[in-house]
């Protein structure tokens, strides 16, 4: 630790801190423009200059100069003030005075500094540059006439998000920030560039021209699009949500959001939002009162329970309940209703992995936290799509990789975002990740059944394999992330993770929804027995073992493959109760519809996948007449009567349907299907909430099939051409996209969730299917 003085205030900071950090700790204001805590300092604006009493006359930029012991820093000497003033005057030479029409007014760093330093004249004249305004990009408008060339957007996109979408072009006074070739933005739309721009050059189009920032009230809450539960600031104007930004980076907060959090908030007011309870009468759904609807649901459930047993009522949860609600629901389901199977589709993979981890250890498992992630120096990711399921993992991992000798090993069957960043990429053949994990476990496990070298037959470079095994045996600080396949079984990768649990620092299962972690760990909102998932659910319904379905924000029709089969099964059910915020496909089959509030409309706590606990207060009132799930529960419990119902003995554990081992992937079915297609998660979200946002839909553009550049050209396709995709199971139209990283003869299917045609292409348990592409009209 070193001690120095800033404006005669003594302060102690760790060695290696910058002068700016010391000044901050001392509570002294130093102006900055190009500085953002989330990224490395840059030294471009030169506003942060200070003077050292021992070296008068020499101006030191404080944002990157290391503080030294016994320095005596002064921040407001005449030389410093003159330099800052001149600097601001120079910046204003080219800056258009757009304040009256600029959205940033009121929260603009340049404006604040000009006022603070009382710049009232422009002795250097003004010269407005003829720079461009990009209005063509979705969601983000870039007005380069206002750009002060601080470089924050370039750096945050390059360093943190790893996308390098924006770069400085030309040099000197002709410098301008732009994309290659001047094209519209085509990136992750994480919104970090917008969040970092200190002036009004980068604007959120959802917010643009809506209102003034001083009319907004800011509430900090949590994004509920995925289980990372990033903190977000909701900006409200008289009870209406106007925009969402990442919560400021400070303390433990990373200050990150993704496209869903930043730009997906219009889902909350989507036309599909349910505002009133509904009942099915004479085949049609009509609005009803709460008491009536709840009473009806209670009676239906009670009837079925008495007739067929508690085990015949299954509950599927999308884990949008607070921990308190989940605990109450769990208790209710077990004690009052008798404990039918509880499962999840959107968080199915996550829950399955946890189940296996606990099974292996025999006790409640403690999964890794953000701290484990920070301090590990090896990250092993089992399964592809981790950063697509949880986009904020990308900047987290990028930031992590910068800190010294870090290794990122990714086992995946397709080139996902983390594979492209990996120092050790283990890319197996399509659909073979599970099999690989199984065999790797056998190679590593106590029995050492197969020699590790055999594993090269999965398509992995044996050198890379040797390095992976070396890493595992080296006993470094390892964290393992487990990314479930959406339609797969995931048991082998879970078992591998379970084996590694005792030998690594932390295991972090992924794929959880907004409060999956809280529901499972703190609320115990799971079945005592094997949970249901997609295929077993459908089979159980077909076999008549399940007669009623309680859906907490879930929709099997929009999430499971083979939707026609699912629909047939669902139509057999005696009772379907839909309790959720949105009207989706299954609502058309529901018997009772109970509108639920979204997480930010509720009170309670949630737990993120990385072990961070968040406390929520309602930021907005529940939409229409919707109610928090906890309230609905109270009404339901009341309607059922509080008499202790004898607990129906648990039905014999439903045989876990053996999902066909993925090795049985039918290769080319001989019908001219030269491609192998895999469904992969989407950066813009596959969950119901994300799909309700019209802005994210604009980025998705519907079903997408991605192929190699070679195949794209060979087929003679045009950019964004719609093609027909055919598999042995179904047929759909999708937009074709080319990607240099995709190997030949492979297809990646995106955005199938919510699309019946897209879902029909695959089957549960088969993560890779043969496919063919045909141009439409030929």
């Amino acid at each position: 630790m070193i001690t120095l003085k800033v404006n005669d205030i003594e302060v102690t900071v760790p060695r290696g801190s910058t002068i700016l950090q010391a000044a901050e700790k001392a509570g002294v204001f130093v102006p900055t423009l190009c500085h953002d805590k989330r990224i490395a300092p840059f030294g471009a604006c030169r506003l942060c200059v200070v003077e050292d009493r021992k070296k008068p006359g020499s101006l030191i930029p404080s944002c990157f100069t290391p503080a030294r012991d016994r320095m005596e820093i002064l921040t407001e000497t005449p030389a410093v003030l003159d330099a800052v003033r001149t600097q601001l005057q120079l910046i204003l030479v080219n800056h258009p005075l757009d304040c009256p029409v600029c959205d940033k007014a009121g929260e603009c760093t340049l404006q604040d500094l000009v006022i603070r330093y009382n710049i009232t004249e422009s002795p250097f004249g003004t010269e407005r540059f003829a720079r461009y305004v990009d209005r063509r990009s979705p969601l983000i408008e870039r007005d380069m006439t206002r750009c002060v060339l601080c470089g924050r957007c370039v750096r945050i996109c390059g360093e943190l998000q790893g996308r390098d979408e924006l770069e400085f072009l030309h040099r000197g006074h002709r410098t301008v920030v732009g994309t290659d070739g001047g094209r519209p933005l085509d990136c992750d739309f994480c919104g970090l560039c917008v969040s970092t721009c200190p002036v009004g050059a980068l604007n959120d189009k959802l917010f643009k021209d809506r209102t003034r920032v001083w009319k907004l009230r800011q509430e900090t809450t949590v994004c509920s699009h995925c289980g990372l539960a990033c903190r977000a600031d909701f900006h409200l104007e008289e009870g209406r949500l106007r925009r969402v930004t990442p919560a400021a980076a400070s303390g433990g907060e990373k200050g990150l959001l993704c496209a869903r959090g930043q730009f997906g908030w219009r889902a909350f007011e989507s036309p599909g939002r349910l505002g009133a309870p509904k009942l099915r009468r004479d085949g049609a759904l009509c609005e009803a009162g709460w008491d009536e609807a709840v009473g009806h649901a209670a009676k239906a459930l009670d009837d079925i329970r008495r007739a067929h047993g508690a085990a015949s009522i299954a509950l599927l949860t999308a884990d949008h309940l607070t921990t308190e609600e989940a605990a109450a629901w769990g208790a209710f389901w077990r004690d009052t209703l008798g404990g039918g199977p509880i499962g999840s589709i959107q968080a199915g993979g996550y829950r399955r992995i946890l189940e296996i981890l606990e099974g292996a250890r025999g006790t409640r498992v403690a999964v890794g936290t953000l701290r484990d992630l920070d301090e590990a120096n090896v990250l092993i990711v089992l399964g592809g799509g981790a950063a697509e399921m949880h986009p904020v993992l990308k900047p987290l991992v990028n930031g992590w990789m910068k800190k010294g000798d870090r290794q990122l090993a990714v086992v995946s069957s397709w080139p996902d975002a983390l594979t492209r960043r990996a120092t050790l990429a283990l890319t197996v053949g399509p659909g073979l990740v599970e099999e690989f994990c199984a065999e790797l476990l056998e190679a590593l496990g106590p029995e050492r059944i197969n020699p590790p070298a055999d594993l090269a037959r999965f398509g992995i470079d044996s050198c890379a394999l040797a390095r992976l095994i070396g890493l595992l045996e080296e006993k470094r600080d390892i964290a393992v992330l487990v990314a479930p396949e959406p339609c797969g079984d995931n048991r082998h990768k879970a078992r591998l993770a379970a084996y590694l649990q005792d030998r690594v620092r932390a295991v972090v299962p992924l794929g959880g929804q907004a409060n999956s972690a809280g529901a499972v760990f703190e609320a115990g909102f799971t079945s005592g027995e094997v949970a249901v998932d997609g295929l077993s659910l459908v089979e159980a319904i077909e076999a008549g073992r399940i007669r009623a379905l309680y859906l907490l924000g879930e929709d099997p029709l929009e999430s499971l493959p083979d939707p026609s089969r699912v629909r047939q099964a669902m139509e057999k059910l005696d009772c379907i109760v839909c309790q959720g915020p949105f009207e989706t496909a299954v609502t058309g089959l529901a018997h009772v519809v109970l509108p639920a509030a979204l997480l930010h409309e509720k009170r309670g706590t949630v737990l993120s996948l990385l072990g961070e606990k968040r406390t929520l207060r309602p930021v907005l009132p529940p939409f229409g007449r919707s109610r928090p799930d906890g309230e609905i529960l109270r009404a339901l419990a009341a309607a059922l009567g509080s008499e202790a119902v004898p607990r129906v003995p648990a039905a014999p554990a439903a045989q876990k349907t053996a999902i066909p081992s993925v090795g049985a992937v039918p290769r080319d079915a001989g019908q001219g299907m030269p491609f192998i297609l895999e469904a992969v998660p989407s950066l813009f979200g596959d969950g119901i909430l994300s799909r309700q946002s019209p802005d994210l839909a604009q980025l998705r553009r519907g079903l997408r099939v991605v192929m190699s550049a070679g195949d794209f050209e060979r087929l003679g396709l045009a950019e964004r051409e719609i093609v027909e995709v055919r598999t042995p199971f179904g047929c759909a139209r999708a937009e074709a996209e080319r990607d240099a990283a995709v190997p030949c003869s492979r297809l990646l299917l995106r955005h199938a969730a919510g699309s019946a045609a897209g879902l029909s292409l695959t089957r549960p348990g088969t993560s890779a299917v043969p496919a063919a592409i045909a141009r439409i009209g030929t």
Binding site: G43, R46, Q87, L90, L149, T175
Partner: protein
């Protein structure tokens, strides 16, 4: 002997003033016919064979013996006599070379005699593409000594002892830099040679790379050995195609002979060098920007710490030195650091190469011991001001340097000695100016250069320099106001104090030093709207002073639009409405009669 002659050359120079009207060719043809040698001996027409007033003459080839043809008569006999007088077939010489006494010895020519060549020791003397020649001139002996008889620490010790400081302009002690790079244990390490030489008017590095590329390679390999690197890069600006070619050839030859590649000289040390051409940016001569450029990124200087010796190219310890610095290394290793230290001054040891250009008689490359004063360089080595002009100023260090006046000519040139006078030695560019240079225009020229080359990262350089340029241009077109001078000074000081890298920090130097020493010239531009040096076109009235006019008519002759009318014995008259202000007349007039 006749058999030793295969051809006879005869001079047929049409411009020969002393030529007697003899048709030498027909003479020869007839004579050879008569002697019967016509078929065996060919005739070749040439230019002058001998000092002109002895023409016409003939020369026997291949021997080269020359005979004068004094008369046409009896030429056949004469020719026969010539043949007989031939001695040994290969004796090439005739009489004593007459004019040896007329050609001065190099050691009497100030330009050469006052220089001390270390870096340029092989200049013009060896074929740069021949590695054998370099070896024959003690090439690669230093490498041999370093690799087989010295430890890396000893090599560094010798370099430190020599006191060698970076020749690129910053003057950082080279030995210390190598020592720092050695101490970090992160691999691989890199050696980079900065051959970007962007200063306008500087061509020292170009000359070394073109004429003696192996010296650079040898220096780099020694550096690699000293710091523990296995890979070197030479960053050469793309505007030097010959240097690129010579270096490429040199690297190929060095690889063939085992000076580069694996197991150099059989010592187990691996080192290879690749060339990276630049892409036209002056700012990429700044070391961190240069490293980004090699990495394929945008050439913008980065924040420091960390220093490049700790984390440079691809985040690894990197030792970057200038071409001239590396070219000194072989001699330092061979002759010892103490030998080098004894040359020059105490804190600026060794020699420095300057590219002396501008208004001097002898424009060229000058290598002198550090501490040589400006007067020696400009007036003795440089031969003084050419033409009938007077010395006005000397600009050192290109766009980063300042100018000095007559009162500073006694100053010794070292890294630190010129600072108080507001100038710096820089990388070695020396531009001498006479009274046909306008100092305001000079300041504008260098500022324009810096504006064009600024990378654009930091506000003071990107915006400040442009604003400063605007003020200078305002003054030059005649719209200057008295307050502009204080404004210029303020802008310049701000840019110098707050810029991010050396480009911006030093770019205001030309403005600041010209303001300091030529304040009256600025005043003339602003208050009198007049350019004393007659350079700034908008401030020239284009009037002929009838009293000063010597009526030679030269101006009328050179005017491309016939705007000047002149009659013999009358002063010339300039018609403003036709004048296009090209200044040809001003340049032609030897009497300074046009203003």
């Amino acid at each position: 002997m006749i058999s030793s002659v295969s051809k006879i050359a005869y001079c047929a120079s049409r411009s020969c003033k002393f030529r007697k009207p003899i048709d030498v060719r027909s003479l020869l043809e007839r004579a050879l016919d008569e002697l019967g040698y016509r078929d065996r001996i060919g005739l070749v027409e040439t230019e002058c064979l001998i000092s002109c007033y002895q023409g016409p003459s003939i020369m026997f080839l291949p021997g080269g013996k020359v005979f004068q043809v004094l008369s046409e008569e009896h030429f056949t006999e004469t020719l026969k006599g010539f043949f007989a007088s031939l001695q040994h077939p290969t004796s090439p010489l005739l009489s004593e070379p007459r004019t040896e006494k007329e050609i001065p010895g190099i050691e009497h020519l100030d330009f050469f005699a006052k220089q001390k060549l270390i870096v340029l020791r092989n200049r013009g003397h060896i074929d740069a593409e021949s590695i054998e020649e370099y070896i024959a001139h003690d090439g690669y002996l230093a490498l041999y000594k370093a690799l087989t008889a010295m430890t890396p620490e000893e090599v560094i010790g010798e370099v430190k002892l020599s006191g060698l400081r970076g020749r690129g302009g910053a003057g950082f002690p080279t030995g210390t830099k190598w020592e720092e790079a050695r101490k970090y244990a992160a691999f691989p390490k890199y050696v980079i040679c900065n051959g970007d030489e962007g200063d306008p008017g500087a061509f020292m590095d170009r000359s070394v790379m073109e004429s003696d590329p192996h010296a650079v390679l040898e220096g780099m390999i020694v550096c690699g050995y000293a710091i523990g690197a296995r890979q070197g890069y030479i960053y050469v600006r793309a505007e030097y195609p010959l240097a690129l070619r010579m270096l490429r050839t040199a690297i190929d030859r060095a690889r063939e002979k085992g000076f580069l590649g694996r197991n150099v000289l059989g010592t187990g040390f691996d080192f290879d060098i690749d060339i990276y051409p630049g892409a036209g940016a002056f700012v990429c001569g700044e070391s961190t920007a240069l490293m980004y450029s090699i990495e394929g990124k945008r050439g913008m200087p980065r924040i420091k710490p960390p220093r490049s010796t700790e984390s440079g190219l691809w985040g690894r310890p990197t030792c970057l030195n200038n071409v001239e610095t590396f070219a000194n290394i072989p001699r330092i290793i061979l002759n010892g650091g103490a030998w080098f230290r004894a040359i020059g001054t105490e804190d600026s040891t060794g020699t420095k190469v300057f590219s002396l250009t501008g208004a001097v008689k002898n424009v060229g490359l000058v290598e002198v011991p550090m501490g040589t004063d400006l007067r020696t360089i400009i007036f003795e080595i440089g031969g003084g001001i050419r033409g009938n002009a007077r010395f006005k100023a000397v600009q050192l260090g290109g766009p980063s340097g300042g100018c000095l006046t007559e009162q500073h000519l006694h100053l010794p040139v070292t890294f630190d000695s010129l600072q108080d006078a507001g100038a710096m030695m820089g990388s070695g560019g020396v531009v001498v100016m006479d009274d046909t240079n306008c100092m305001v225009d000079v300041a504008r020229f260098f500022t324009q250069f810096s504006v064009d080359e600024s990378c654009g990262k930091c506000v003071p350089c990107r915006v400040g320099l442009k604003v400063m340029l605007g003020t200078l241009e305002k003054i030059i077109v005649g719209q200057g106001e008295p307050s502009d001078l204080a404004l210029l000074e303020r802008q310049a000081n701000h840019i110098a104090a707050t810029s991010h890298c050396g480009l911006g920090q030093a770019a205001p130097n030309p403005v600041l030093s010209t303001l300091r020493y030529f304040h009256d010239e600025y005043e003339a531009h602003i208050r009198e709207k007049r350019c004393p040096a007659l350079v700034c076109t908008d401030l020239i009235r284009f009037e002929i002073d009838a009293e000063a006019c010597k009526r030679c008519g030269l101006c009328a002759k050179v005017c491309p639009v016939n705007a000047i009318s002149w009659q013999k014995k009358e002063p010339a008259v300039l018609h403003q409405e036709k004048c296009i202000r090209c200044k040809s007349c001003i340049r032609a007039c030897r009497f300074k009669a046009i203003h």
